[in-house]
Symmetry: C2
Subunit: 195 residues, 2 copies
């Protein structure tokens, strides 16, 4: 039995929904919004700030980020947020029986042997459909929104982990939700978690 499931996911892949269903099926805690609340409490930063920057801080303004907004010891708010997130994720894993979505949890918990690390991705068409259904149309094209969001996730991951986001080798299991379907993904993850 795996005590912790981490779900990394492309924006628009349905990974969050899959993680939530896995948590329900296993009777595990589900940390996504709840995680943001915990981080807000611990860090004193606003939920909005964490939601906006917790997975994309250096990525949003990568080059500027290296030089501005740092304190005397060279730490930025992003680095501070990273440390708080990391500590909370380590504590949650120690308690166990949970599904954690995003926030480099696969990397932070890479040395534990009681975790199942999952990556969920999907083809561009299905992702476009999904975000338009969920979040509506905006002035930017769905493809542009997807590329930007997934690019910042990738840059944030690279910055804090020095690994390439979405490389299969970072995860135990990577699934294309657009081909396999959400239900099948839930079934596969739940099955492996129970091993």
């Amino acid at each position: 039995m795996k005590k912790v499931i981490t779900i990394s996911r492309e924006f628009g892949s349905g990974g969050r929904t899959i993680g939530k269903e896995v948590a329900e099926k296993l009777g595990y805690a589900f940390y996504d919004k709840d995680l943001i609340e915990k981080i807000a409490e611990e860090s004193g930063l606003s939920k909005e700030y964490i939601e906006e920057h917790g997975e994309s801080s250096p990525g949003r303004n990568y080059f500027g980020y290296a030089f501005v907004g740092r304190d005397a010891s060279g730490n930025s708010v992003g680095d501070y947020l990273w440390r708080v997130q990391r500590n909370i994720i380590e504590e949650l894993a120690e308690k166990g029986n949970c599904v954690i979505v995003g926030r480099c949890a696969d990397y932070i918990l890479r040395k534990r042997t009681d975790c199942l690390h999952v990556f969920i991705h999907a083809d561009m068409e299905k992702k476009k459909e999904r975000i338009v259904n969920l979040y509506g149309e905006t002035s930017a094209s769905p493809e542009k929104r997807l590329r930007e969001k997934n690019k910042t996730r990738a840059m944030n991951y690279k910055y804090y982990t020095d690994r390439t986001w979405g490389m299969a080798e970072n995860y135990h299991l990577s699934l294309d939700s657009s081909v396999l379907g959400e239900k099948k993904c839930v079934e596969l993850i739940t099955g492996l978690a129970k091993e």
Copy 2:
């Protein structure tokens, strides 16, 4: 039911063995050595040449490759081999009911909807153990042999597909055989092939 399973795999991950067992379980043809024989027949190139270069041609000598060994129309033996391989893989997929290992089959068959594309990887320690057990010790360290072989596979893939080898998004399913175990990998792939 998926008609074709492609297995891409890190050297040392046991992906070939997993593919063979999947083929047996499904009653499918298994194309690995057999594929090399077909390519030899069709191309007139030796089996040894194909085995050595079919997945690593430009990678082995990437920069030199761009300038030497090309005919008047700029085609190299590697490009010729690539075209023959591609045609054979397309024909095999058309016939169906087969497992194809390596040779960028995931990319070549990416537009078909009757394929399951799988990537098998493993952690460094397990890969080292495996290649020493299978192929014995050599003067180069196991880690060096693994890095070189997997690097040439990645470069070959990049050269012919313009995609990054091992990115989860290229496959429907990516599995860490060192954590999940070979038996479980066979079970997961076979199960999904039957959907």
